[in-house]
Amino acid sequence: MNYSEAVKGKIPGDGNELDRRKDLWSKIDGAYEQGGEDAIKSVLIKSSDSVTEEFDKLLKQLREKL
């Protein structure tokens, strides 16, 4: 069993939660296969950027209202 399958088999969780985690693992694994450690960093930062950027934009809007 290669590392990818070994990790996949160890990911905890049930139902949707497990599917979501396995999906994230596929992204991480895919990035690693394509471009190594830096690619993992990029893919995770990109995933969180979409969340943090929207969050920061909303926070700025609401602070102006306050």
Partner: protein
């Protein structure tokens, strides 16, 4: 696993001409003295596979810092290249070609089993896919480089654990963990969560502030007499309507122009109304006709008061100098008479002095004559008659009569002149006072004229300007008193309007604060706020998922490490005891646990008593331990790493005969799993390898290296 089939070298380091090596047996031996090109051959393999990764400081090997790839005896346009033929576990052949272009650039080509040729990025990606390892992995699992192998047992725990992970083929787990940690998602999530909490606190603070401000404003409203039902939009608009009417009436009564006043339909319009009304009230206060008159009278009173002060001061100055002048004036006639008398006395005395001086001069000359040598002092120089004691007589005449007389006249004359000077000084003072007196008189006349002009009447010498000014002041004050009441009434009316405006302003303030409070209250129910909450939770879920994946990676890595440690532990123990033959170590326990802090594998080597090994081992033993781990891992059954060969460069350096013999025995075992490429200058090791290794061998003999031609290599 990838194995080597052929190596072609041209112009690389020690090499000048094309050289070819065929790896056609499990054991490839590179034998020869120091400096004959053996190491360049092994280096050519790693450079072909990893290019610039194995050069310079980033290689992690000190001696590589100033490495040069091209042979120095070649011209700048010479071809420098290495070509490798590899074969994978399915017997597919790949050709790798790397040509040197410059210190920082090379050219890579990969020819696939089907003959397709890849270049550039495609070639790099294909080679990375084939090798599945970094250069650092290669150093710890394939190429037994002394400096790197020693790191396995002597470096810091983190370095050691990383190196053993690589040996065990667990680099992927470690690399992925490093990549995940580099993204620092947890820190981002904490920052986001802190921002959210901080914003929620800001909302709470803003609400408390608004409530407190509202309470204060409602208190003010009650103090000004506003009723509860007036504190509303309707109440504010009604007050504004009242203010408007009052202002219109006031303007009409006072005959003043008034600007357009628009109350509006909602409380927010009242701010503009208030601005206009405020401006108009301020203008009314200053432009009311009575106020204007009042201001003129204030000005008039100020002018008369100033004139009165000026007149009093000039009058005072004139009176003061007049007293002094009158005293002097009386004395001046008497002194003028004395001056005339003194002039006569001085004239007489000067005449007396002149006469006395003429006689005195005759006597003085006679004395001088008689005092000359050779002069008969008894004969008179004038009448030439004999006069006994003539000189004594002359001297007595001078001292007793003329000298005294002259002194007396001079004293009297000086006394007259002194008195004359005193009187002269007195007259100077008199003239000064006279001028002051005249000037003060002139100023008084001017002020009287000024008063006349200000009061529009003539001021004659018989008039008392002070009294006239007092009357004028009384008249102005009376008029002012009359006006003051009228102005006060009007200002009072404006104050009442202002007060109504104040009430309206308080209501507008309360309505505005109420609205602001509502906005703040609504923020937490807004779609933006709810979305932020959702995003915060989304981020927390992402971080939690990543943590769970890290945990899964750690568990999988540890599980695999444990299996491999168990599998290799026996071989390492066996190799170490064979090579080192350490009297105190009868068994090596190689174990792995998980570092709870880093979630990485943590490897330990202990002796048969459970004591850590490294403190009791000397440098030779540590080298043997490192070599045992390298070989133990390399000889593991199954593909722990992608290379089907190991390369050993002079592994017997400063080792004894026993060590070498054991090393050869161990290598024979390793050959069950891997091809071995061994380079050695050690004759004893060469003989041992040739006689004791049980697998087929290909031997390359390196003889003298001629700089112009490169290594002399013969295949045997």
């Amino acid at each position: 696993m990838v194995t080597l089939k052929r190596l072609g070298i041209k112009g690389f380091r020690a090499y000048m001409e094309d050289k070819e090596f065929v790896f056609d047996n499990p054991v490839i031996l590179l034998f020869g003295d120091n400096g004959t090109g053996k190491s360049s051959t092994l280096n050519a393999i790693e450079w072909c596979l990893f290019g610039n990764e194995c050069i310079g400081a980033k290689s992690g090997i000190r001696e590589r810092i100033d490495w040069e790839i091209p042979n120095r005896n070649l011209g700048p346009s010479a071809d420098i290249s290495v070509e490798l033929e590899l074969e994978d576990e399915n017997a597919h052949a790949y050709k790798i070609f790397r040509g040197w272009i410059s210190k920082t650039k090379d050219e890579l080509k990969v020819i696939l089993p089907d003959g397709q040729s890849l270049e550039g990025q495609n070639a790099n990606e294909k080679l990375a896919w084939l090798l599945k390892s970094s250069f650092r992995d290669f150093l710890t699992t394939v190429y037994q480089h002394q400096e790197v192998i020693r790191a396995i047992v002597t470096e810091e725990p983190k370095e050691r654990n990383d190196a053993i992970d690589r040996l065990l083929g667990l680099s992927d787990y470690r690399n992925i963990l490093t990549g995940i940690e580099a993204a620092k998602l947890s820190a981002r999530q904490k920052g986001m969560s802190a921002d959210f909490d901080s914003f929620t606190r800001e909302i709470e603070t803003a609400l408390r502030t608004r409530e407190s401000d509202l309470k204060d404003e409602r208190g003010k409203a009650a103090e000004t007499g506003l009723k509860e039902n007036q504190v509303s939009e309707k109440g504010a608009l009604e007050i504004a309507g009242g203010v408007k009417n009052q202002l219109l009436i006031f303007a009409s009564d006072a005959g003043l122009y008034i600007a357009e006043l628009e109350v509006g339909e909602e409380w927010k319009d009242l701010q503009e109304f208030q601005n206009v009304a405020d401006r108009e009230i301020k203008r009314f206060r200053s432009e009311m006709p009575d106020v204007k008159k009042q201001q003129d009278l204030f000005k008039r009173r100020g002018e008369i008061t100033a004139l009165k002060q000026k007149y009093e001061q000039t009058e005072k100055d004139w009176n003061s100098v007049k007293g002094k002048f009158d005293v002097k004036e009386k004395e001046s006639a008497k002194l003028q008479k004395e001056v005339r008398e003194l002039e006569n006395k001085i004239k007489n005395k000067e005449k007396q002095l002149s006469e006395a001086n003429a006689k005195g001069a005759v006597i003085t000359k006679a004395r001088s004559y008689l005092q000359l040598e050779g002069i008969d002092k008894k004969i008179c120089p004038v009448c030439e008659t004999e006069k006994p004691d003539l000189l004594d007589h002359v001297e007595r005449e001078w001292t007793e009569k003329y000298e005294k007389l002259v002194g007396m006249i001079e004293d009297e004359l000086n006394a007259f002149k002194n008195r004359q000077n005193e009187i002269k000084d007195w007259f100077e003072e008199y003239n000064r006072i006279k001028r002051s007196f005249e000037s003060a008189y002139k100023r008084v006349a001017e002020v009287r004229k000024e008063i006349g002009k200000a009061l529009n009447r003539e001021i004659t010498a018989e008039d008392d300007p002070d009294a006239i000014l007092n009357n004028a002041l009384k008249e102005v004050s009376k008029k002012l008193e009359e006006l003051e009441k009228a102005v006060e009434n009007k200002q009072e009316k404006l104050n009442e309007i202002d007060f109504s405006m104040g009430k309206m302003q308080i209501i507008v303030g309360i309505l505005s604060l109420d609205e602001k409070k509502r906005i703040v209250e609504q923020i937490q129910q807004s779609s933006e706020y709810l979305r932020m909450e959702e995003l915060r939770d989304q981020m927390a879920i992402l971080v939690d998922d990543v943590e769970k994946i890290k945990q899964a990676i750690s568990e999988a890595s540890h599980e695999e490490a444990k299996q491999k440690v168990n599998a290799a532990g026996g071989a390492i123990d066996n190799y170490f005891r064979q090579i080192a033959n350490h009297p105190a170590v009868t068994k090596i326990e190689f174990s792995v646990t998980v570092d709870s802090r880093t979630a990485r594998n943590f490897y330990e080597f202990k002796d048969q008593n459970g004591e850590y090994l490294t403190p009791i081992l000397n440098q030779g033993d540590l080298n043997a331990l490192a070599l045992s781990i390298f070989l133990g891992m390399s000889s593991l059954k199954g593909a722990t790493q992608p290379f089907g060969f190991v390369m050993m460069d002079d592994p017997s350096q400063s080792a004894g005969s026993g060590y070498k013999e054991k090393l050869v025995e161990v290598l024979d075992e390793v050959l069950g799993e891997r091809m071995v490429i061994l380079s050695s200058m050690d004759k004893e090791l060469q003989e041992l390898v040739l006689s004791k290794i049980t697998k087929a061998k290909t031997k390359y003999i390196f003889s003298d290296r001629i700089p112009e031609r490169g290594p002399e290599v013969k295949k045997e």
